[in-house]
Symmetry: C2
């Protein structure tokens, strides 16, 4: 495509909007994530000598075009929402303006990163919501689609309120608290379960969590109690026991009774094993005395909604609004702004998608797209993950509850401004006349 | 865990089995993928100085243990099935034998890679099956969970029979044929759809595929016909048109009639747009005249089955078989072999999971696990992707049709040998007596 643009002299500035066309089942909002990687990619964008030789070897590309590619850098500007913002269907979260080849050639990376990171952040936010203030830890690294996804999930999930991650590398990269745990294999290496607990406690006298279900959860809890008492005699404390299989509601109740009966009411109950927001919700509604959760498998791939209909579409070329009309896939023409309107308590009322230059639909409508890159350079420092976490928490607190339901949440109101509606009508009319002769 | 192993002197050789516990919906087989990355990881495994300093800064680890980690290498052996092999539940696809810390510390990477690559290879194999010999191209890079997953999907899908990928990087890394296409944005940049087709044809006079649904698929097909005739007058040929939205069955029929009526019966019909094996199957059953498919979104994340219950479990420690009894998650003890038994035509009849030393259950039972690494070094060159592709094709041809159905396929027979059953009973009994006092 780039070669055809270049050879035909189609190189004017273009604006692309990145947006999500529809919600997956049981979703009425998305959490925006992925911007940090996008901006870093755009700043570093280039073809290496090896890349160019690889392309040349395909025999499909013109030598002069390859010389052009070798010098290509991203020189455009980017307007975007802040990571950790809530957003809704059809709202651009990123708008890229650059000479069309630059803006086009980065499409796959931008879609890939914003899609996966927003999908995972959204899923994780649902788990935090279901956990009702209890701690949730990322155990997903063994099941995410690759190690890159594991690291991105650790970051996205911490952004939306997880307590930390078992992914030590992601902890180091992003400064996320790391949590260790023992596997069944650790336990089955020892002469007995109790011996394995003793060994672990000896290494981590004040930060041990014992996994109690290797043979039988209740027997394991009794072994944990025995070792926890020995620890107490030495002035230490068992932090928690972990249940990882079976009926977690009934087992957590029984284990709590046993621990409390042994005077170990300060030992927490931690649960894991294929949990997602639906199971957390069911357990906590039923009153399971669980203090924290480790989630992996279903959450780290957003199992009920692993993809979105996320699009990166040309909306303006050479100063003219453009759009496509493909069945069921229409785009909103022109560069845009998204305004968020709140009620007097700060709660979200509605969003309005407007033309970029259009004024806010109500005085206090907050514009969500801000310029973050100009001439290919970032305009400010990357916000810290802690700042994004706070930004998410503040926003989420103001999203009315009805939009957060885990099943069939109410849709949030997203309107198109009068100005954008006019522009859309004109652009559609023009295309229909020109292309379809209507 | 590694520190507790080390400090307690729990450092004997251990064997871990990597296997899949159950099938996701509508699956009766898996395609094994990920071994190449696993072996490369094991050969290169080490903590860098920076890694060690990062761990030290957490304040959780003993200095001597960190010195030990700094020198840690993988010195063990690996037995594995060949990539591209079909495998079934409970069958180990990889067995790792090494001092327990080495074998344990690589768990997350091994599970991560084998899970995602096998999940994606399996999904892609279903699409190839549904396509009934028609060409399928990987368009998934914008939707996979990260760029690493995009490259792995390109490789896995080519291994199981895709024609190629639109992912140019994966094409270069793995030597996979690459296929270009135009986006709607390319078309909407031009004064008219026909002009955009002309520009593309001028750059790629013999390898153009025109996307015809930007405004209206039938109008777009007429524009493509106009430009295809101009191309023919210049001695070139339009390769294909691509339909990307709407009712693909009815549109493909209409487009075929138009093309044939214009004497362009050599122009192929290519379809894309959220397709998966179920939609391909429905289209082709209904007789849609489509010659090739581009698949992305739902296939690149294995949308109906994005995760598996894949496990890496300790089965032998210090020469003794071990297992856990966790509810619903039992493991088969001891180092194992998997034998595949075929009928006289070579078709798969049943598999038998046996002890590693046990002889084949029938004379011609083929052992599937072979040593591929010893003392931390690979034993032979990595098979080429082309070889793996042929290996898959041969295997898949011999899997009876009933196990390939896209919906509710018949389960394949997997048995446990008499020897393994005995060992399992003994190990279970021993654990029950020791741990549960039974």
């Amino acid at each position: 495509m780039a070669q055809a643009y270049w050879q035909s002299g189609t190189t004017a500035p273009a604006t692309f909007s990145l947006f999500f066309r529809s919600y997956p089942p049981d979703r009425s909002y998305f959490v925006f994530a992925g911007l940090a990687d996008v901006l870093e990619y755009l700043e570093r964008f280039r073809f290496t000598g090896g890349d160019i030789e690889g392309l040349r070897s395909l025999g499909k590309f013109d030598g002069e075009f390859l010389n052009y590619l070798a010098k290509l850098r991203f020189t455009g500007s980017v307007r975007a929402m802040r990571e950790g913002s809530l957003f809704f269907v059809n709202e651009p979260v990123i708008e890229v303006t650059a000479p069309v080849i630059e803006a086009q050639i980065v499409e796959t990376f931008l879609l890939n990163q914003v899609n996966v990171q927003s999908v995972l952040a959204t899923k994780a936010s649902r788990v935090v919501y279901a956990a009702r203030g209890r701690s949730v830890v990322d155990f997903a690294a063994r099941r995410t689609h690759g190690t890159e996804a594991a690291d991105r999930f650790a970051r996205a999930s911490y952004m939306v309120g997880f307590s930390g991650t078992s992914n030590v590398l992601a902890g180091a990269i992003y400064g996320i608290p790391t949590f260790g745990t023992m596997a069944h294999s650790f336990i089955t290496c020892f002469e007995s379960e109790a011996e394995s607990f003793r060994a672990y406690a000896s290494s981590f006298p004040d930060s041990s969590t014992f996994l109690v279900d290797s043979y039988d959860t209740i027997h394991g809890t009794r072994n944990a109690i025995e070792v926890a008492r020995e620890m107490r005699q030495r002035g230490h404390r068992l932090q928690a026991i972990r249940l990882d299989s079976g009926d977690l509601l009934s087992l957590s109740r029984k284990a709590r009774v046993l621990l409390d009966g042994a005077g170990l009411d300060d030992v927490q109950l931690f649960a894991s094993g294929g949990l997602d927001e639906f199971e957390l919700d069911a357990l906590l509604r039923a009153g399971a005395p669980i203090d924290g959760f480790g989630v992996g498998t279903k959450v780290g791939v957003s199992a009920d909604a692993p993809w979105t209909d996320c699009a990166y579409k040309l909306v303006e070329y050479a100063g003219q609004p453009v759009l496509k009309l493909s069945s069921g896939k229409m785009t909103l023409a022109g560069s845009k702004q998204v305004y968020r309107c709140r009620d007097e308590t700060g709660d979200y009322l509605r969003d309005v998608i407007a033309c970029a230059g259009e004024k806010a639909p109500q005085e206090d409508g907050e514009p969500l797209l801000h310029e973050v890159m100009r001439n290919g350079k970032r305009l400010g420092p990357q916000p810290t993950l802690q700042e994004l976490r706070e930004h998410f928490a503040q926003g989420f607190a103001h999203l009315p509850e009805c939009h957060k339901s885990l099943r069939s949440p109410a849709p949030y109101r997203v309107e198109v401004s009068a100005g954008l509606e006019r522009l859309q009508k004109q652009a559609t009319q023009k295309v229909r006349e020109k292309e379809l002769g209507e």
